[in-house]
């Protein structure tokens, strides 16, 4: 019997079978029950339901007609269909492009901004929220704003033409090959401030004594950051990476708002693929299979993280 249980048992003995004791027992359960059940059903229950559907031949409506791995096999074949690229192949390539750029530039810009802000400059209190503020906007607002800005008919290109720079050319958002980069730009703009805040917190946590010691040893600012500060805040990198990676995988609204409903499937991502196959193309089983693959991808990132976190705590 642990200490706490012993204490509870003692308390119970003192109170006897009173109403208060009953409440003490039941209150936590009552409070937790709704959210516990909701999570159980709507997260884990539906995960299992999706897994089940991915093995059926569901089209517009769910059926229980099992067909084994056929849907996964189809996705697997689509993975290697490059010319002309299948939707799934496009989604995977775009995921790599978007995810890579998004994570890299968010980390890079976030760290850069954090280091610059960390120089004890004046007005940090004002600057910090300015950088952080984009996070307060939802992806759909960010996307719409960037779409308007990038649209060659009304945005940047048009404005510069009006100002006399007529040779200026920037039409990525309507060019199927470049569209995904526009999505990345909007995403990076949205999230790098948030990463900056994470890094800034990390930087502030670095012991000043160490920095002073480095200064006395004659290390330059660059050397101090490169050799001392960044290695110390390494866990922050990892946390930021996890947050960014899952945001990249689940980003859906951003694609639709920046590109204007993803014309021609050029900016397809696994998330848009999953939605369109499940709900508009009436191929629910294939959509479910792709959802399961997305879940497995996220799990592949999260599980090692959770494992390493819990191991560290046990140590």
């Amino acid at each position: 019997m642990t200490e706490r249980e012993a204490a509870t048992a003692m308390a119970r003995r003192k109170l006897g079978p009173s109403l208060r004791g009953w409440f003490q027992d039941w209150l936590p359960r009552l409070v937790l029950a709704p959210s516990f059940l909701l999570v159980l059903v709507f997260v884990y229950g539906f995960n299992l339901w999706t897994l089940f559907l991915s093995f059926t031949s569901s089209k517009a409506f769910p059926t229980t007609n099992l067909i084994g791995f056929t849907n996964y096999l189809r996705l697997w074949n689509w993975t290697f269909e490059t010319d002309p690229p299948s939707n799934w192949y496009t989604a995977l390539v775009n995921m790599g492009l978007f995810g890579g750029l998004y994570i890299f530039f968010c980390l890079f810009l976030g760290l850069l901004l954090a280091i610059l802000l960390d120089q004890k400059i004046r007005g940090e209190g004002i600057l910090r929220p300015i950088y952080l503020y984009p996070l307060a906007l939802s992806f759909i607002v960010t996307g719409t704003a960037w779409k308007l800005f990038l649209d060659p008919r009304i945005g940047l290109e048009n404005a510069l033409h009006d100002w006399g720079w007529t040779s200026f050319h920037f039409d990525w958002v309507v060019d199927p090959k470049m569209m995904i980069y526009c999505v990345a730009i909007a995403g990076i703009w949205q999230s790098s401030g948030f990463v900056m805040a994470m890094f800034l917190a990390g930087l502030r946590g670095v012991d000043g004594e160490i920095l002073k010691a480095a200064q006395i040893d004659g290390a330059s600012t660059y050397q101090t950051y490169r050799r001392i500060v960044i290695p110390i805040i390494r866990p922050v990198f990892f946390s930021a990476l996890i947050v960014l990676a899952h945001m990249a995988i689940k980003s859906y609204d951003l694609v639709l708002s920046v590109t204007g409903k993803n014309p021609g499937g050029a900016a397809e991502l696994p998330s848009t693929f999953m939605y369109s196959y499940t709900f508009t193309r009436n191929q629910m089983a294939i959509g479910s299979a792709s959802a399961v693959i997305m879940l497995m991808t996220i799990a592949a990132i999260m599980v090692p993280y959770i494992y390493s976190e819990t191991r560290e705590q046990n140590r």
Partner: protein, 421 residues
């Protein structure tokens, strides 16, 4: 053991708490209508039906779900029906209605249909979607046809153009516009719009028989044929006349280009006419309507329908009232004048319609009699959605350069359609 007890007690508590909010009562004197007619012209048209239902003594409860092609609305509907809480009626398109009918979720309104003789009034092609196993579960509200082109008359006069009678003349006309410095072809670069244009191109290139063989019968030989290759080549030809910023543009913005005179022509279904009407433009005076060059005499349709779901007996009266009102000649005429489409029943007078509407009504009648009245593949009326979207994929990839040649395009078309079957 303790953990299990915790689980069970938690679950029980949660169920007790959530119970009671699920119960939901529906008013029997009320018509709940799920639809996606949210644009100005569409809402005005729906208002005609609203007024007529109100006269029958039923309140109208709008359940609008925005989004052009109704994708979002269909998702909402699916969820509501699955939850056992269907609306009185829902706007629906062909194959989607059949899916519900096969599921057995549609009501049976055959008594009313038999009494009024819908079998004779409504074209047989539409009955295929409204009637399953001899039972009526839906009523068509209108007939749209997709093989139209809409031209700005002022621009047409400026460049000295005349009505193009075949595809080559159409290209020549577009050339003239290009030389005069206007955008020749207003197009929205969304898959369904490109596919809608391609429907007409296929019919123009191969004729209606070919269209039927390829898209209605899904004959592999026809899908792979040289005619289909030529159709893709023709699509590539038209691509040269579209302005570079067309990607992702909405269809009504493309129509606006024609209305303003920034562009000469748009290839679009007759819902485009609603936009002209909303901009106070008059058919024949401000804008011109022709059948897509080379498809005169045939009609490739889509039809908005109201599907009726199985509801408790006390709500069925409202359903029947809505059905009766919807199909009545007065409502059919008034509704379709505003919507830009033509009546779903063949005996409605064309007196209230403009010249495009009159031509539309006459065309539907002749096409129905001649057997050149086909469902549009792009509009989910020739094939179920899975196949229609497979077709979109190929057309849009070809259009945006993902598929380089028409040879590859036809191979892909067959492959894509087979994968979706």
């Amino acid at each position: 053991m303790k953990f299990r007890a915790f689980l069970i007690s938690t679950a029980l508590t949660a169920v007790t708490i959530s119970y009671g909010t699920l119960a939901h009562a529906a008013d029997v004197k009320e018509v709940q209508m799920l639809h996606w007619w949210t644009s100005g012209g569409e809402a005005a048209a729906l208002d005609v039906i609203k007024q007529a239902v109100a006269k029958q003594g039923y309140a109208w409860k709008d359940v609008p779900v925005a989004g052009g092609g109704g994708g979002a609305a269909m998702t909402t509907l699916k969820a509501n029906v699955a939850a056992g809480n269907p609306p009185t009626a829902s706007q629906i398109l062909g194959y989607y209605a059949l899916e519900y009918a096969e599921q057995g979720s549609l009501a049976d309104i055959s008594n009313l249909a038999d009494k009024e003789g819908w079998d004779k009034l409504i074209p047989a092609a539409l009955q295929k979607f409204a009637k399953t196993n001899g039972k009526w579960g839906a009523v068509p509200v209108n007939i749209h046809s997709v093989n139209w082109i809409w031209l700005n008359k002022a621009v047409m006069e400026k460049i000295g153009g005349t009505e193009p009678k075949n595809f080559d003349e159409f290209v020549a006309l577009l050339d003239k516009a290009k030389k005069a410095g206007v955008v020749p072809l207003a197009l929205g670069g969304q898959p369904w719009q490109e596919a809608t244009m391609f429907d007409s191109i296929v019919a123009s290139t191969g004729g209606t028989e070919f269209y039927k063989k390829a898209f209605v019968d899904l004959d592999e030989g026809a899908l792979k044929s040289d005619t289909m290759k030529k159709a893709f080549d023709n699509l590539a030809k038209l691509r040269d006349y579209v302005d570079p910023n067309y990607t992702g543009r909405d269809w009504n913005l493309a129509t606006a280009m024609v209305i303003k005179g920034d562009a000469l022509v748009q290839v679009m279904g007759d819902w485009a006419k609603g936009e002209f009407a909303a901009a106070h433009k008059e058919a024949g005076k401000d804008f011109l309507c022709y059948r897509f060059p080379g498809t005169d005499g045939s009609v490739f349709y889509n039809s908005d329908m109201f599907a009726f779901f199985k509801v408790p007996a006390d709500r069925q009266a409202a359903q029947l009232a809505l059905a009766e009102v919807t199909i009545s000649p007065e409502v059919q005429s008034a509704f379709n004048v505003i919507k830009g489409s033509v009546p779903a029943r063949l005996d409605v007078s064309d007196a209230a319609f403009d010249i495009c509407g009159k031509k539309g009504i006459a065309d539907v009648k002749t096409a129905n009699a001649k057997g050149t009245f086909f469902g549009s593949l792009a509009q989910n009326y020739a094939q179920p959605p899975a196949i229609a979207t497979a077709y979109y994929d190929v057309v849009t990839k070809f259009m945006h350069g993902g598929i380089k040649t028409s040879d590859i395009a036809v191979t892909e078309l067959v492959k894509s359609i087979n994968a979706a079957k």
